[in-house]
């Protein structure tokens, strides 16, 4: 392995003259209701939406949508899964889970993205190894754009943070859109305020 | 207004009618036009091939032939771009500097300096596909480009619109490169031809009877492709249209 000091010294010797760091302004957000913008963006990225009255309805919705035999792993105490997950759960053990349930900390209207960290996921692999993801989102927890999301402190405290936008996708073969490339086949945002 | 006419080498050799039309057009607008007989070439072919130093001879001749003029006008955006931006093989004296900044492409000159509004002698009753060369578009900024968000404008169109009877078609990729690219046309012949064929097909499909451009090099390449393809389309330089050519 290269020596750290020698490595940095070589870079330092090669650097061009100082160029200033610009001030990045906050740009005006497009007009429109945040939730409406979020929904339009989410739809564009292949995500789905559902509306429920209470947290108890979520499990019923899942069973109706994915079948009564669906294996459910829930990272949020609001929804009961068919198996328990904790921070000590082995990631690979989620391989046979049909539906993962997780509450997002916030959403981004510009892109239809939802934000998670290890705190939300409990087991990070929950967002990816399961076949379908159900995301609880409080409509009051929406920011307008990525410029706003990246000014939040949430990124600093998280070991792992992710902006998830719709399900896993690819168009690598002839540009044909496939949902469920390596990750989840579907992602559904369920609007539900935080209790 | 005294103007020196710069006739690029390949126009001199293959398309004298474009040089003649440019001369006559400038005279119609009251310019006193000199044609310095010593001129040869701007040096672009050597410089674009990487041998910038070998362009020195041509650049020296150009600087000498056009010394002292306030306006040097040439019907070729790529040549004019070379003079303004890459004319570096010779010593940059004040005189050379003046020649460089006084060199205009024809459309630029008509639009920005002469403010040419009308061409009452002109009539071109055809469906026209306007082709703007990449030099004219992206290096001389004579029109907006589809990949940059901003105000839409076009100096060549502003001029041609004033010609009686002219109708414009809308090709699918109006500002994609046609594939001439100088020596590229020969060193990357297969790709160059494919690009030229695609360009011709685009204009033909849009219904163009003529492709009009301010750059004869692009037209030379497109015409070569079109004729080999037996495509039903013709080619003419903007100077000729603005000067009153009917076909």
């Amino acid at each position: 392995m290269a020596d750290r000091e020698a490595f940095l010294a070589r870079v330092r010797a090669a650097q061009p003259a100082h160029e200033p760091l610009p001030e990045v302004p906050l740009f005006a957000a497009p007009s429109g209701d945040l939730r409406e913008r979020f929904c339009a963006a989410l739809k564009l990225m292949g995500g789905g939406e559902a509306q429920v009255e209470t947290a108890a309805d979520v499990r019923a919705w899942i069973l109706q949508r994915f079948g009564s035999e669906a294996r459910i792993a829930s990272a949020t105490p609001e929804v009961e899964g068919t198996r328990e997950i904790t921070a000590d759960t082995k990631p690979a053990s989620l391989e046979d889970v049909d539906v993962g349930v997780v509450r997002a900390r916030f959403g981004v209207a510009e892109t239809g993205s939802v934000w998670f960290s290890e705190r939300e996921y409990v087991v990070n692999a929950l967002g990816y190894l399961v076949q379908h993801l159900v995301v609880l989102l409080d409509p009051r927890q929406l920011v307008a754009g990525l410029q706003d999301a990246y000014r939040r402190d949430d990124f600093r405290g998280a070991r792992y943070a992710v902006l998830v936008t719709g399900p896993s996708a690819t168009a690598d073969i002839e540009g044909v859109l496939i949902q469920g490339a390596q990750g989840v086949r579907s992602l559904t945002v369920v609007w539900l305020p935080v209790p | 207004m005294k103007v020196a006419l710069f006739v690029p080498c390949f126009i001199d050799a293959f398309y004298p009618e474009v040089g003649i039309a440019t001369l006559e057009l400038l005279e119609r607008f009251g310019c006193e036009v000199d044609y310095p007989l010593e001129q040869t070439c701007c040096g672009q072919p050597m410089a674009n091939s990487g041998a910038q130093a070998e362009a020195a001879g041509a650049e020296r001749v150009f600087a000498r032939a056009f010394a002292g003029y306030d306006y040097i006008v040439g019907p070729s955006a790529s040549c004019v771009n070379h003079v303004r931006d890459h004319f570096n093989a010779i010593e940059q004296t004040d005189e050379v500097g003046k020649v460089r900044e006084s060199t205009y492409e024809l459309v630029e000159f008509l639009h920005d300096v002469l403010h040419a509004q009308d061409f009452p002698w002109a009539e071109f009753p055809w469906r026209v596909g306007l082709h703007n060369s990449c030099s004219a578009l992206r290096h001389l900024h004579e029109a907006s480009v589809s990949e940059i968000a901003g105000p839409v404008f076009s100096k060549p169109l502003a001029l041609l619109e004033r010609v009686k009877g002219i109708e414009f078609v809308k090709p699918a990729r109006p500002d994609e490169c046609c594939g001439f690219g100088g020596t590229f046309a020969v060193t990357e012949e297969a790709v160059s031809v494919r690009m030229g064929q695609d360009k011709v097909v685009d204009h033909v499909s849009a219904g163009a009877q003529y492709i009009v451009s301010a750059d004869m090099s692009c037209l030379m390449h497109q015409q070569g492709c079109a004729e080999r393809m037996n495509a039903d389309i013709r080619f003419i330089h903007i100077a000729q249209v603005l000067n009153g050519a009917r076909e």
Binding site: V164 | E38, M46, V191
Partner: protein, 464 residues
């Protein structure tokens, strides 16, 4: 090393019209989608300027930012390694895996690992490497490099993929249904994520100095699988990926996917700052000629690149020649300006695989002056006597001819005579490259010069 003959390889690609037509249309479509995004955001051009300035600033203080990044990362519990060369990168990765008894590596897309030729290095030492990105996997199975940095198998049609998969992972070679093919790859790859003695590797789109965070953008979620299932996550990153602050991501993430695919964001934008409890995270920082390029006044701007591929999508030459004709991990316009630093002679044809049309420069989200660097590389290549097409002597002769009005006029006079005299079939012989698929210009009866002398008096300066 032997020169990559771009023109010849492009000719081979062009001999398959169905592939070319699709390739050109698909990538132009991405370019059009990019345009739509750019036009929909009023501040787009301002964002480009900001992105360019942030990158230029960072590169001008790169050592300090690398210092900050690595110290913070180590404080976060990440193990940091430095690799001067591609070989050192491969050795380091192998050592990390071998020390922990790993026998397989699942990885998401990383151009750097292709640049370092990591796969054969690891595989020859007993480590299986599974590319998890669909496009990269297709190329891995077909033993071809990726042809595009964002859509690695864009040069293939569904029948090609069906043939490759049929040959390698046991699918029905006559079933070219794209959903079937994609699902087959998903099922074939999936067991590897949960396999024992397996590590995960990702590349890096952005490395944030402020927090020691590595940002990875994918659509498939394969980076998140590779990083979050196995107990070991290795990040391969080029030193030019640094940006100063988390808030700067508000500029770059807005631009990356819009520039690459014309979609507002990738399906997954992942931020890795510290390992999971009980797991390991390693960052391998690679130079491999980047510091050398940083010291080149004409070319260091190329290090601003965020690997979006927009330049490839817009390049009319790339779209019709295919990425494999560039002979390198990096193809298209960015390839033309990066590759000569790796091997000038080998890649000396690439800066000439360009019409200098400049649309690449216009779509680049970080405002790299690509077409200007392409022009500059031509000067460097000529100065090093590595011109691929024409001998320096020929250009010297042309220069002398065009520098002498008398010689020039003589040549023009004989040229027209020659063209007028020779019958068509001789003009169209195989040696005449222009005339292979194009008609030659018609020969006029006079030059402008001769017409002027005959029809107008005088001439102005230096009349002869």
């Amino acid at each position: 090393m032997k020169r990559v003959e771009h023109a010849k390889l492009a000719g081979a690609f062009l001999s398959r019209p169905e592939h070319v037509a699709f390739h050109d249309k698909r990538l132009w479509d991405l370019r059009s989608k990019r345009d739509a995004q750019a036009h929909a955001i009023p501040e787009w051009e301002t964002l480009r300027t900001l992105a360019s300035q942030i990158k230029a600033h960072t590169l001008s203080h790169l050592a300090d930012y690398l210092d900050q990044f690595t110290r913070v990362a180590e404080a976060n519990g990440v193990q940091v390694h430095f690799a001067d060369t591609a070989e050192e990168h491969n050795e380091t990765v192998y050592r990390i895996l071998h020390e922990r008894g790993m026998t397989a590596l699942v990885k998401s897309k990383s151009m750097l690992t292709d640049e370092c030729d990591m796969r054969p290095y690891l595989e020859s030492r007993g480590i299986s490497v599974m590319e998890t990105d669909l496009g990269e996997r297709i190329q891995q199975l077909d033993r071809q490099p990726p042809s595009h940095i964002v859509v690695p198998a864009v040069h293939k049609l569904r029948d090609d993929v069906a043939e490759v998969f049929g040959r390698t992972i046991g699918t029905d070679p006559h079933n070219n249904d794209i959903h079937y093919l994609a699902e087959s790859q998903r099922m074939n790859t999936r067991p590897w994520f949960v396999r024992e003695k397996t590590a995960g590797m990702t590349g890096c789109n952005f490395a944030v100095a402020e927090t020691g965070t590595v940002v990875v953008c994918t659509n498939e979620g394969n980076a998140d699988l590779s990083a979050n299932v196995p107990p070991l996550h290795i990040v391969s990153m080029g030193i030019e990926k640094l940006i100063p602050r988390v808030s700067d991501l508000g500029v770059f993430i807005r631009m990356l996917s819009r520039s690459a695919l014309g979609s507002p964001i990738t399906q997954y934008t992942s931020h890795f700052r510290a390992p999971r409890p009980g797991a390991e995270m390693h960052f391998v920082l690679v130079d491999n000629g980047r510091a050398e390029r940083l010291a080149m006044p004409e070319f260091w701007y190329s290090l601003k690149c965020i690997r979006c591929g927009a330049c490839m999508n817009t390049c009319p030459v790339y779209r019709r020649s295919g990425g494999l004709s560039y002979g390198s991990t990096y193809a298209g316009p960015i390839g033309a300006i990066i590759n000569p630093t790796f091997d000038l002679k080998r890649f000396s044809a690439l800066p000439f695989a360009s019409t200098l049309n400049g649309s690449c420069t216009n779509v680049c989200p970080v405002k790299i002056n690509i077409h200007e660097q392409i022009y500059q590389w031509r000067q460097v290549i000529a100065a090093q006597h590595e011109l691929p097409f024409v001998k320096q002597e020929v250009l010297k002769m042309a220069g002398r001819l065009l520098g002498s009005p008398t010689l020039y006029r003589g040549a023009v006079a004989s040229l027209e005579g020659a063209l007028r005299r020779m019958p068509n079939f001789m003009l169209y012989n195989p040696l005449n490259i222009w005339g292979k698929q194009r008609d030659l210009p018609h020969v006029p009866h006079t030059t402008f010069h001769a017409w002027y002398r005959k029809n107008r008096k005088g001439g102005g300066n230096g009349g002869s």
